[in-house]
Symmetry: C2
Subunit: 208 residues, 2 copies
DNA sequence: TAAAAAACATACTGATATGAATGTTTTTTT
DNA sequence: AAAAAAACATTCATATCAGTATGTTTTTTA
C-alpha cells in the first residue's frame, strides 16, 4: 500500500469528482426520473464540464448503473436490509415494526413526495433497460433473502407462526411498502401513508 | 339529435382519428414510458401526420391527460373497480379473490413484464406533473372507495370481521397489488407473483 | 526537469424533440 | 355550387440531447 502513496492524490481527486457527479445524478434521477435528466443538467450543479463527465463515465447508461450500484443499493441496504439482519438477536416483530412502520413515519415531506428511489427506477426503466433490471432485481432479492432469514429465525424462536410462508410474506411486505410509496406520490397529504400504517401494523402482529 | 345527423360523419371521423392516436399513445406510454415516447413515434403507427396530431391535441401533456382519462382510468375501472361494486350482492371474499388473485393469474407475459399502466405513470410522473397527479389520484380514490363500500357491506353481512379497518385494508391491498406489479418488472419469471399470490390469499382469508 | 498521463474545458456534430406556420384536401353549410 | 370550416399534410423554427474531437492544465512518472 505504501508504494502508492505518491499516486494517491490523483486517485482521490478522481474518486471525489466521480462522487460529485454521482450524487448530482442521483438527486436528479430521484426528482425528475432517469429519462428526464440530461447530462448537461447533471454537471450543472457540480461546476464541472461535459468533458469531465465523459472522462469519468462513458455514457448515460453508465452513470445510471453507477448510481444504482453505489447510491440506490446503499440506501435500500442501510435503511431496509441491514436493520433486519438482526446480528444482536433481538425480537423479530419489533424489528419489522422499525423498518416497515417507524421508518415511514420518519420520512421528510420530500421523501414522501418523491417516493422510493429504487422503486421509481424499477417502474420507470425496470423492464426496458436490461442492465438496470438485473441490478435492481439483485437489490430486491437481497432484501427478500434477509427478511426470509429473519422470519425463519423468528419461527425457531417461537416468535413467528410456524405456518407463515416466509418468502411470500417477505414479498408481500416489500410490495405493499413500495406500492404505497408510489401511490403516496399522487397525494399531497399523509392520509394514504396513515392508512397503510394501520394495515401493515395489524398484518405484522398477525404473523406472531 | 336528428338535426345533427348530417354533421355526424365528420364528428365520427374526428373521434375515430383521436382514438387512433390515443390508442397508439397508450401502447407506447405503456411500453416505453411517457417521457421516452415522442409525438413522431405516436403518429408513426397511425399513418397520420404531425399536423393531424396537433389539430386534435394541443400538446404532449394534453394527449397524456386524454390517455389517462380515457384509457388508463377505463382499464383500472373495468378490471379492478367494477367487479367489486357487487351489484348482485355476491359473497365478499370470493370477489376479492377474483380481483386480487385470479386477475393476476390470467395476465399475459407482456402484461407481467410491463406492469400496471396506472402504476407506471404514477411512479414516472406522478409527482412532477400536477395535472396527471390529480387524475391518477382520482383513479386510486375511486378504487379505494368502492373497496371500502364492499368491505363495509361485508361487515354487515357478517362476512368480514368487525374490527377490520376498511380504508386501511383497501389501501394495503391496492398497495401490495401495485407494488408487486412493479417489482415483477425486474424479473423474467413468475416467482415473485406466485409468492405474492400465496401471501395475499392468506391475507384475504384472514379478513373473514 | 522533461515526458507522459490523467483531469479537466471548449467547441462541435448529428440526431431528435416539441410545437408553430402554412398549404392542401375533404366535408359541411348556406 | 360557392363559401366556410374542419381534417388533414408539409415545412420550418428553435431547442436540446448524447456523444465526440480537440484542446489546455495539472499531476505523476522516469
Amino acid at each position: 500500500m505504501f508504494f502508492y502513496i505518491c499516486h494517491m492524490n490523483q486517485k482521490i481527486k478522481s474518486r471525489e469528482t466521480q462522487n460529485l457527479i454521482i450524487n448530482s445524478a442521483f438527486e436528479l434521477f430521484y426528482k425528475h426520473g432517469y429519462n428526464k435528466t440530461s447530462i448537461p443538467e447533471i454537471i450543472k450543479g457540480t461546476g464541472l464540464s461535459k468533458g469531465a463527465f465523459y472522462h469519468h463515465f462513458k455514457s448515460k447508461r453508465s452513470i445510471g448503473e453507477k448510481v444504482i450500484d453505489l447510491t440506490v443499493r446503499k440506501r435500500v441496504y442501510e435503511r431496509m436490509v441491514a436493520p433486519l439482519k438482526n446480528l444482536d438477536n433481538a425480537p423479530i416483530i419489533p424489528l419489522l415494526y422499525d423498518v416497515f412502520i417507524k421508518r415511514i413515519e420518519g420520512y421528510s415531506d420530500l421523501e414522501k413526495d418523491l417516493g422510493c428511489p429504487a422503486n421509481n427506477l424499477i417502474n420507470e426503466i425496470g423492464y426496458s433497460e436490461s442492465s438496470f433490471r438485473e441490478m435492481l432485481r439483485d437489490i430486491i432479492d437481497h432484501w427478500q433473502e434477509i427478511m426470509v432469514n429473519l422470519l425463519e429465525q423468528g419461527k425457531i424462536k417461537g416468535e413467528i407462526r410456524k405456518n407463515v410462508d416466509t418468502s411470500a410474506t417477505a414479498i408481500f411486505l416489500i410490495s405493499a411498502f413500495e406500492g404505497v410509496r408510489g401511490i403516496r406520490k399522487v397525494y399531497n397529504n399523509d392520509k394514504i401513508l396513515d392508512e397503510y400504517l394501520i394495515a401493515v401494523k395489524s398484518y405484522i402482529e398477525q404473523l406472531a
